[in-house]
């Protein structure tokens, strides 16, 4: 059975795995951006507030985030339309503190786009989750109801 969606390559920027996507708000044309894949980030996407202003993202609620050392910080969110692999979804974008310009994509991106992430120390790919699950099952892996593989 052919894959429903081709395997999409990400890329490494130095030591950081990244992907490219299109972002759009209420104004302007979609823009391609790159974002670092942060598997320790359980959100959808983090972008700078400046990017949100440029694209006129729809304002969202405030929220709180826990950082690497356990400290908590209040952040603003916004709603943006994100395009990837020919699909578009609206998602909750966490706006980074003022002087942080990096974009991060988190685990919730995988849920929203129904993707699986495959990564080595120098290669990264994204593929349709059902395709990945089928391949995993064919190789003998067991997928529990909670999604944890055995």
């Amino acid at each position: 059975m052919p894959l429903a969606m081709p395997v999409l390559p990400g890329f490494f920027d130095g030591k950081q795995p990244c992907i490219r996507m299109q972002v759009s708000g209420t104004q302007g044309s979609p823009e391609e951006i790159s974002a670092v894949i942060d598997t320790g980030f359980n959100g959808f996407l983090m972008m700078s507030a400046r990017q949100a202003d440029i694209h006129q993202f729809e304002a969202g609620p405030s929220t709180a985030a826990t950082l690497a050392d356990g400290s908590r910080i209040a952040l603003q969110t916004a709603l943006a339309r994100i395009g990837f692999a020919g699909r578009t979804h609206q998602g909750v974008v966490t706006l980074a503190p003022a002087h942080v310009s990096i974009n991060l994509v988190g685990i919730d991106f995988l849920r929203r786009f129904n993707l699986a992430l495959v990564m080595t120390h120098e290669q990264v790919w994204l593929m349709d989750e059902p395709d990945f699950v089928r391949i995993a099952l064919q190789s003998g892996a067991r997928i529990s109801d909670t999604g944890q593989s055995g």
Binding site: N42, P61, S62, A64, L67, A68, I73, A74, Q76
Partner: protein
């Protein structure tokens, strides 16, 4: 006896005014977390673990949905021009990030 909700609302108004209220996410977060702890936390953690709540500071009400984008959509319909805060039920924060260090975050937003 002053009802808990009235106490909470008074405390929040005092906090917002003394904090030079503005659409500062830190002010909103602190106010919303007070409301959430007083009014919704116990019930929501029992009934809706790992779902998302959006608290409206203005009305001291909240909505719940399994995913953050759904909770926000629900809140936008329920609270016209509300002052909203997103919470992950059962967690200290809605999101965790391994990439940012406190030095990146700056001091102003620390809760």
């Amino acid at each position: 006896m002053i009802k808990l909700e009235q106490q909470c609302a008074s405390s929040i108004k005092l906090h917002m005014s003394t904090a030079h209220s503005s659409p500062d996410p830190r002010n909103i977060a602190l106010a919303a977390e007070q409301i959430y702890a007083a009014k919704f936390q116990q019930e929501f953690e029992t009934k809706y673990p790992d779902q998302f709540a959006v608290v409206d500071v203005d009305s001291a009400e909240a909505v719940v949905a399994p995913y953050p984008e759904d909770a926000i959509e629900k809140a936008n319909k329920a609270f016209d021009h509300g002052t909203l805060h997103l919470i992950r039920i059962g967690s200290a924060s809605a999101f965790t990030m391994s990439f940012l260090a406190p030095r990146d975050a700056g001091l102003a937003g620390i809760l």
